[in-house]
Amino acid sequence: MDTISTAENHTEMEQVIVAMQDPDLGIKMKNQRLLITVIPHAMTGNDIVEWLMKKYSIMEEEALHVGDLLVRHGYIYPLKEPRNLVLRPDESPYRFQTPYFWSSQQWPASELDYAIYLTKKNIRKQGQLIDYEKENYNLLHKRINHTWDFVVMQAKEQLRASKQRRKADRIVLECQEQAYWLINRPPVECLTPRLSQRDRGKQSNTKCEHSSRMCPITHITKRTLVRVSGLAFQDGRGVEHLKKALGRSRVKSSICLESFIKYSEQYFSHDPMMHGCPPSNPWITDDITHWALNTNTVSTPTKLRVERWSFRFMELLSDPLGRLKFMEYLEKEFSAENLCFWEACEDIRHGENSRIPQKVSWIPHRQFLAPGASKWVNVDSKTMEKTLEGLRRPNRFVMDDAQMHIYFLMKKDSYPRYLKSDLYKNLLVKAIAPQETKRSVFPFMRRHRHSSPNPALVAQALEEDGKAKRLGSPRITSPATSP
């Protein structure tokens, strides 16, 4: 049972369980009849679901889900079908597991304890154990044979003690123990039962699946480094860091939070989950028109797309089509060298490490920064000095300052002018605004789901064609040029 493997949620589950057992606000427990025996302190599945619904103001489906998890983790066990750890929202009787057996107690379900339990069962049932239990019993018998006398003696003692108890108590104790071992030694071929309503009638342990026993790995992998010994080192560093943090400038919450509202409103109609997706969401209708209309090589972009370029400069630059259109505009204005420079810098920053010296040497210097260069860019003197200094020891960040400078130059100057230009306005006018198709048009027809060329294939083909890359342009390796 994989869900057992993390102990983190046990406190929360236990809080729920304790609340359920509160004498005033908890579930009203009563005696429940199990065949001819009367079990005290029990409740029905219905009681549990209703209490959860009321306490957490949730719907029945969710309450059933939560209750079911509690049963599966062994905090509540069924009396009627003790092997079936499932919550039934009916009159089936359930009982709270004794805290001793709570998973959070974490006393490892040792082989010895399990052996004693199986031996008891074996004696009681006169050798009629269930398959997997029989297997385990035999395995244990072999493995801890040296203590088998102790095991048998303990088992007999416990059986004798339990015979002296009242029948109701005996049944309860047996169910408790059984539930505990079902969780800690689940049948090897058992999947956690399905949560859907319609499966409730079926026996959960008839579904077979690969074992998903308690996995020590998750527990270990998430806790390998609780560095207690490194605390001094950590705190030394931490103090420095905190001092720095105290000095940082902050913005008022009201301003920050307003910006979220604005952002969400601005992008509302662009969010397929909020506003639908013209003409239709491909995942719903199996129609890929939406993707076809928005590729990087489409001749006429959609209205939403062109609109989005006006939201912020980064939107324009990060859309390859947007960048292309922007470059066209800049070329008309004879100020394309800024964008070329920016692209060259991006290429250096994100390109291969080994090619940096080569790129750095001839692209920026020769083409952009040297006075009289063919694509000279207007960088302020301070930045220029710093950059030229840095070029002597080229690394991937050497162009950062210059790149930033040019970026903000474009953002403040060229970008707003572009948005006001005829070129952009034309795009907006000519842009496609597909109608949203009503899904009900093809209610029963299932469209063929077209496959698309693998981006790796497209890239391979491009390389094989030996397409020369434009000087200074970044490696626009955007996938899926056709849907």
Binding site: R194, C256, S264, S452
Partner: protein, 409 residues
Amino acid sequence: MLRGSSAVAIDNERNKHPSDVIAAASAARARRSGRVGLATASRSTSDPHPAEMATHELHPNDTLTTLKMESENLKAKLEEERAKLHDVELHQVAEKIEALGQFVMKTRRTLKGHGNKVLCMDWCKDKRRIVSSSQDGKVIVWDAFTTNKEHAVTMPCTWVMACAYAPSGCAVACGGLDNKCSVYPLSLDKNENLAAKKKSVAMHTNYLSACSFTNSDMQILTSSGDGTCALWDVESGQLLQSFHGHGADVLCLDLAPSETGNTFVSGGCDKKANVWDMRSGQCIQSFETHESDINSVRYYPSGDAFASGSDDATCRLYDLRADREVAIYSKESIIFGASSVDFSLSGRLLFGGYNDYTINVWDVLKGNRVSILFGHENRVSTLRVSPDGTAFCSGSWDHTLRVSEEEGI
């Protein structure tokens, strides 16, 4: 038994075992308190950081306490400073906007093919392909739209906890218990064994928990159980920058979509979420309000904030300019941890995959839950919204991946 005595009975029962074998139980409990330590000792393959070792030996106990005290004082002061500019709550600001209506979520594709728990997935930029990795070492590339499997790689290790699709769509990166991150170029030659062209890029001293390509195929950012994050050059395998500061395993990371593109956030078992400068390796901001491990971090689309999902069953929103936590997404009926979070395209919705097998959808601005999706048969381990926001994919320990969409009615 009187009903009133049930609470007392519970406490007493904690120490009473129905059978008479007490010795084994108490010995086991003694072992329990040292259990984590044992596991650590046997599992940890890393040598302690040299500086750590030195500090541990040189600094006597009282220096440790004074450092701790100073640290506590500064933390308190920091919280004071942060609170000064906090003049309004998010849900108050959000009062003026309309509440979201009803949402219907439907699973549109179920991808079956993994033989074991799915641990991680990532979308390709073409909006329809995904890569997923699982416990049995298999990494599969799917065209989720047609549900066809296009590539499959078997890693030499189990528990492949991290995988990522390259921006060009030409390669995938993955890693896990092998402590490495490897890049596999995707070849379309059916006869070619993908494993042959594998490139070992990252080397950590403990398991790899997350990996992500930066803006190109040439660099990878990784986070590891050894408590560090690192930036690597794919071609040479060279370590470009390392990020130290977490006090425990780092479980997740996300790159900032900002203009300058130079920061990322990471979350760890030390309950901290740290924002790092990729260039200098410095931690520029740190948030510690979660009560348990942070399993997942994701930036808000504008880059001004990020959300986190944690084992404490809450998701939280942190604003980077206000330098504080600004929202908590939780409900009393949600008692299991959130393993994975992601935003819808506009940032209005926050999707959370939880360990109780469900996916909860939150209204980021108003703070309430708008939808819940049942469907997975085991815990949801990974969740990502597609690049164009048309759908989201969730991977689970039930061996499947599901692509679902959310529609307002």
